[in-house]
């Protein structure tokens, strides 16, 4: 077949890792073979993720910059609509007769604008600079929680592999993040569900490649538990954060 691919063995480390990601994106099981056998799987996993997120991050930043130059300045539109709303007779009479009502309206109006800005996806300079860093942080967090829970569940179900081998395979399973490079095209909408669904497929392959002794049902169970525990972990972190905030507030004030 003309589209057949070859597992990379040559080229510098960066391009080799990106080619591995490409093969993993195309659901090639053999892409995981080398990384699972890496002498230091966690280090290899980290290097893989760094190569992925730095490359994708640069492209995403470029895409955001292109978005910025192809969208009308939202702050200027904001100023025009502000003038229309707040200089209107209706608002002026509200402000004079019922300041509370005017305040509530202003608050809702600001929230509405904020939501609209998010909906349009209008990028700011801060997004362009910090976007890749936040992507890397979120990716590393997901990698760590998935790897910890996945390895634990897989071993409980009887999976046998070198310690932490799953970390390297799971780092390679982040391959669908490559799809974010498509956002280089201004106006392109990349559904989060697409990356999520493809991640589910690559994560399953990572489990299969690391624990060949497990059946497909056990691999599926590992994946489902991994996801469930990850989300429980996030939920607990939010709850604990709120509780901690309330306790601190009570103590301080």
């Amino acid at each position: 077949m003309a589209t057949d691919l070859v597992i990379p063995t040559s080229g510098n480390a960066w391009t080799r890792r990106l080619r591995l990601y490409w093969n993993a994106l195309l659901l090639r099981q053999d892409a995981y073979r080398d990384v699972v056998e890496a002498p230091s799987p966690r280090k290899e996993g980290f290097r893989l993720l760094l190569a992925l997120y730095l490359t994708v991050g640069v492209v995403v930043s470029l895409g955001l910059a292109l978005d910025w130059i192809t969208l009308p300045r939202v702050d200027q539109i904001h100023a025009g609509v502000d003038a229309f709303v707040f200089d209107s007779q209706l608002y002026q009479s509200w402000a004079a007769t019922s300041p509370t009502l005017a305040l509530v309206f202003t608050l809702l109006y600001r929230i509405g604008w904020f939501a609209l800005t998010l909906e349009i996806g209008y990028p700011t300079a801060r997004d362009i600079v910090l976007g890749p860093i936040s992507m890397l942080a979120v990716g590393l967090f997901r990698w760590a929680t998935f790897a910890i829970f996945g390895e634990w569940v897989a071993r409980r179900l009887g999976g046998t592999a070198r310690l932490h081998a799953f970390w390297a395979a799971l780092a390679l399973a982040a391959a669908p993040v490559l799809l974010r490079m498509l956002t280089l095209v201004p106006g392109l909408y990349l559904p989060a569900g697409l990356i999520g669904a493809w991640l589910a497929l690559t994560s399953y392959q990572a489990v299969r490649a690391t624990y060949p002794s497990l059946t497909w049902r056990q691999c599926l169970a590992v994946e489902l538990w991994m996801y469930a525990l990850h989300f429980i972990c996030i939920f607990l972190a939010i709850v604990l954060g709120v509780v901690l905030g309330v306790v601190l507030y009570q103590l301080l004030f």
Binding site: M1, T3, Q29, T70, L71, G80, G187, L188, A197, R208
Partner: protein
């Protein structure tokens, strides 16, 4: 055996040639071919979105709405009933003027790259998004089908199933006419409706072949997998709806 399938060989899948499906199953890099065919079919099927996007100025949506609002207000102010309330009519006319001013101010705001170039680029972006949206929807249906196929005796690997399953999207290119949103009641709308039905039936036929080849079972077994998955999804939806109703009812009775 088809040893070197390329994008131009798409018709081999449309005419349900078994050796072509078999070749996709066996080639390790076949998913790339399937993805390109999927994108191509998606782009053809939504070509109307590109032409509409290039023709319409998406940038002035807010301004357009304000202008339309101003016209409505003006129309309402001239209504006979409002002649008896001149102050209200006058306020509405003033508001309409202000809306026009705001619309003009918004329209004056140009993207740094320029209006025409920006809109054209973004129209292309919106068009390219369409197959990606379809792929997301496709995968949502596809993932339960993968599990059902394995549970009911399928032996296809993940790559084999996905590579072959994506090919079932090819007939969706026939939706190109629907993407132009023909006026209801016209011949165009009738043809578009027929093409939609044709595309659905054809996709189903390709999926049955693809699933049979990927999982090494018969088309009848593939049909059973499909029916079982749909039944399971309907049942799951009904149960989750019932549970949601139960929980929300209990919560409301506690809160109210």
């Amino acid at each position: 055996m088809d040893a070197s399938l390329r994008v131009v060989d798409f018709w081999k899948f449309l005419v349900l040639r078994n050796p072509s499906f078999e070749a996709v199953r066996q080639a390790p890099g076949s998913l790339w071919l399937s993805l390109r065919l999927f994108m191509l079919a998606g782009l053809i099927g939504t070509i109307g979105i590109l032409t509409t996007g290039l023709a319409e100025a998406q940038r002035v949506t807010v301004a357009d709405r304000l202008s339309a609002g101003a016209v409505s207000l003006d129309g309402a102010a001239e209504n006979r009933l409002l002649r008896w309330t001149p102050r209200l009519a006058s306020a509405m006319t003033i508001a309409a003027d202000r809306m026009r001013q705001a619309a003009a101010a918004i329209e004056a705001v140009q993207p740094p790259l320029g209006s025409a170039a920006s809109e054209s680029l973004r129209a292309v972006g919106v068009w390219v998004s369409q197959p990606l949206l379809s792929l997301t929807g496709w995968l949502t249906v596809f993932l339960p089908l993968l599990v059902a196929a394995r549970l009911l005796g399928g032996r296809g690997s993940l790559r084999e199933q996905v590579s072959l399953g994506l090919l079932a999207f090819l007939p969706q290119a026939l939706l190109f006419l629907s993407s132009f949103h023909p006026e209801p009641g016209t011949a165009g709308a009738s043809v578009a409706a027929m093409l939609r039905v044709g595309a659905a039936v054809w996709s189903l036929a390709i999926w049955l072949t693809a699933s049979a080849v990927a999982n090494r079972y018969s088309r009848v077994q593939a049909a059973k997998v499909l029916v079982a998955t749909i039944a399971a999804l309907v049942l799951l939806t009904a149960i989750s709806g019932w549970l949601l109703d139960l929980v929300s009812g209990a919560l409301l009775s506690v809160l109210l």
